[in-house]
């Protein structure tokens, strides 16, 4: 019921503009046009034909190029707005409440709105992801809706087209048949030598070249869809890891998100350019800036826990390898890469104290406190002893007489100690912090004096794993193939046939680069004595110009 039967006998789907087989115009509009619109070969774009159920309506919505372009514009505008204020990961705040407060405090009401709308974490916001998803649907639906009918009509096309089709081609000519039957043989030969695929029927020749260039845009879209699919994979577990860890010299730590791997830092190395050794040309720069780093490096040992070991069982770790992590030279294992990203120099590692008699100044010996694993008591011999009662690695002050620490990192270590000597067998209590000593139970005879520190460096490392890279690369490659295919090749067709009254009609069509198809046709014309053709597009333009002049 919904088919259009062409006079040539071919059945076309509803909505077809030009008969898929012979090319006769099938609509009133098309018959009134001087030139036919050759987009999608005048085939019925499916979306425009069925518009019944909800599914069809949704489908048609996404099939529209206007909708696709609008989506792209909206995405671009949103991405542009996303650059006005810094994104969350550049903001010096952690935790949702803190981040929200930061935006409001620093950027006012606009900042608050910006945060609430999710513009502060654009790529992570649900509506932006929805837009990208809709663009993906649009790419797929719009492509399917066009490529399938186009493929079908190009496959079905007949060698002999109807005269009304020929007449409405941009390049068209009609005239005497000078060579009779030879016209077709010679045309065929010449077209073949020009690289055309030639189909021949009784009294008709069709030369076609580089049809595959018509698939360029669709291949290009396929590449984009694969790319988007790769980005989507990142959300799935196991495909994408981006973690950071701080590792102190001498520490062994589990590497986040890895299956049972541990990393130990032996040393962090920061090297700078030496004026003496560097090339002379750099001297100015070194003098101007002071020090310029030449190397950031962490020497590490990678361990793996045995298959049967549980998390926490670290006594049987197996060494995998030793490596030096430098900038751009990550440690690699099992698809993971550990990069040198950051560092902190000189974190306190241990502190040395001296126990002495306040009055005489006599020294009773030194105590070295390991800040990572402090001991309960330190024996100095001769009945002298220092007992550790409390350790506050990041001392902030007293609360209800109780010393407080705000973190487990030794940024400001403080100790509560009991000093016992033969002279003070009951012991004296003292609170020792940097630049601060408190004697809570009255004046002491002995004091523990801060002497020296040992420090260590901390490496900031990033752990990455990206299984989606090859998908993204493949998508990009296919995208480029599509671009090249559509840009560097043109689909050209030349029709030559004998009309009922014995004339020869020629017509040509290309999707771009009309000059070249004309050149090809010129060569065939020369060999086969074809009638001269005209470019009806030029003619139309000329007429329009004339009309314009008349009316003005």
């Amino acid at each position: 019921m919904n088919k259009i039967l062409c006079t040539c006998g071919h059945e076309n789907p509803k909505g077809t503009v030009l008969c898929g087989s012979c090319g006769r115009p099938l609509t009133e509009e098309a018959s009134n046009q001087k030139l036919v619109d050759m987009r999608y070969e005048g085939s019925a774009r499916r979306s425009q034909t069925f518009n019944k159920s909800i599914i069809d309506k949704v489908w048609n919505f996404f099939s529209s190029v206007k909708v696709g372009v609008s989506l792209i514009v909206i995405i671009l505008v949103a991405a542009a707005i996303g650059t006005i204020l810094p994104q969350v990961f550049y903001v010096p705040a952690t935790g949702e409440a803190e981040i929200a407060a930061y935006y409001e405090r620093v950027y006012g009401t606009f900042g608050k709105l910006y945060y609430q709308l999710g513009l502060s974490d654009l790529y992570g916001s649900w509506w932006f992801q929805t837009l990208i998803g809709m663009l993906g649907i649009s790419l797929i639906v719009a492509s399917l809706d066009r490529v399938i009918p186009l493929y079908k009509s190009l496959k079905k096309q007949r060698t002999r087209r109807h005269e009304s089709f020929m007449k409405r081609q941009r390049i068209f000519g009609i005239g005497e048949n000078a060579l009779g039957e030879n016209t077709f043989a010679k045309s065929e030969e010449k077209l073949k030598s020009l690289g055309y695929n030639v189909k021949r029927e009784d009294g008709a020749v069709l030369g076609e070249k580089a049809r595959f260039s018509r698939w360029g845009p669709y291949i290009n879209h396929l590449g984009l869809i694969i790319f988007l699919f790769g980005v989507m994979l990142r959300a799935l577990p196991g495909f994408y890891v981006d973690e950071t860890m701080w590792l102190r010299e001498g520490e062994t730590r589990a590497i986040p998100e890895t299956p049972g791997y541990y990393l130990k830092s032996d040393e962090f190395i920061l090297e700078t350019y030496d004026k003496e050794k560097a090339d002379e040309v750099f001297n100015d720069a070194i003098e101007r800036v002071g020090t310029i780093a030449s190397n950031y490096q962490t020497d590490v040992v990678l361990y793996k826990k045995p298959e049967d070991a549980l998390p926490g069982q670290t006594d049987k770790l197996e060494e995998v390898k030793k490596d030096s992590i430098q900038v751009n030279e990550p440690l690699k294992f099992e698809g993971f890469a550990v990069y040198q990203m950051d560092f902190r120099l000189d974190e306190l590692r241990s502190m040395q104290f001296n126990l002495s008699n306040k009055a005489t100044g006599e020294s009773l010996g030194d105590v070295s406190v390991d800040l990572v694993e402090p001991e309960m008591s330190y024996d100095l011999g001769n009945g002298n002893k220092v007992e550790l009662l409390g350790y506050y690695p990041d001392f902030t002050g007293f609360e209800n007489g109780e010393p407080q620490t705000q973190s487990p990192i030794p940024n400001n270590p403080a100790f509560l100690v009991k000093m016992t000597t033969p002279e003070t067998p009951k012991g004296e209590t003292s609170f020792v912090a940097i630049k601060q000593t408190v004697e809570p139970f009255g004046e002491n005879k002995y004091k523990l004096e801060f002497n020296n520190v040992e420090t260590r460096d901390v490496s900031g490392l990033t752990i990455r794993k990206d299984k989606t890279l090859w998908v993204l690369a493949l998508g990009g490659l296919i995208f480029m193939i599509g671009v090249a295919q559509g840009s560097y090749w043109n689909h050209r067709r030349i029709w030559i046939h004998e009309t009922k009254d014995g004339h020869i009609a020629v017509a040509a069509h290309t999707n771009k680069n009309w000059l070249s198809v004309k050149k090809d046709l010129d060569q065939v014309t020369l060999v086969a004595n074809l009638p001269p053709y005209i470019d009806q597009h030029d003619l139309e333009a000329l007429e329009e110009k004339k009309d314009g002049e008349k009316s003005s």
């Binding site: 069925f50 599914i55 929805t130 730590r253 487990p408």
Partner: protein
């Protein structure tokens, strides 16, 4: 004719459905990625072995058939310190009812942990995760975090932040074996 139309409708429905499901799933996972740990309620609690202050090993698998009240903490963390005495009292109540309490300290020194447990007089086992590997396996972010593990070894509830003594009692009741 009607058949091809039917087929087309089915085809379109399938394509749109697949795309919508893929997109919704992606948005959902990326939206919940940072907030929810990799572990969630109903998952099997990963087994681990850690050593307590007396050098004794504690594995989660040792407590099979019992509920485990697994608390992650640090001495510097004030809410952790505040809930410890209540935890200790409830430990005494529930230890004979098949609920074990286990506190995992995050990579601090033996000294600090020992002094802390002495100060608060804690009786339940306190183990130290020196390499943060258990913390990593349980994806612990803020402290304190408490995992309620039921007698079947599944995670019943994840609590981040401080708990009152009433909370603790109710939680222990929740994972007590029948």
């Amino acid at each position: 004719m009607a058949q091809t139309k039917q087929q087309r409708l089915i085809m379109r429905t399938v394509i749109l459905a697949v795309l919508v499901v893929a997109i919704v799933y992606t948005i959902f996972t990326s939206a919940t990625k940072e907030k929810v740990a990799v572990l969630s309620v109903g998952d099997k609690a990963p087994d681990f072995t850690l050593v307590d202050l007396n050098g004794e090993e504690h594995s989660l698998s040792n407590y099979k058939g019992q509920g485990v009240f697994l608390n992650f903490w640090g001495t510097w963390c004030k809410p952790c310190a505040k809930e410890m005495p209540a935890m200790d009292r409830q430990y005494e109540v529930f230890k004979d009812k098949g609920v074990q309490t286990l506190a995992v300290n995050i990579a601090q020194s033996d000294f600090e942990v020992q002094r802390f447990t002495d100060q608060y007089g804690l009786d339940f086992p306190v183990v130290i995760d020196k390499t943060k590997s258990v913390m990593d396996a349980y994806n612990i972010n803020p402290l304190p975090t408490t995992m309620l593990i039921n007698p079947q070894g599944k995670i019943e509830k994840i609590i981040t932040g401080e708990m009152t003594e009433q909370d603790i009692a109710a939680f222990m009741e929740q994972i007590a074996p029948e």
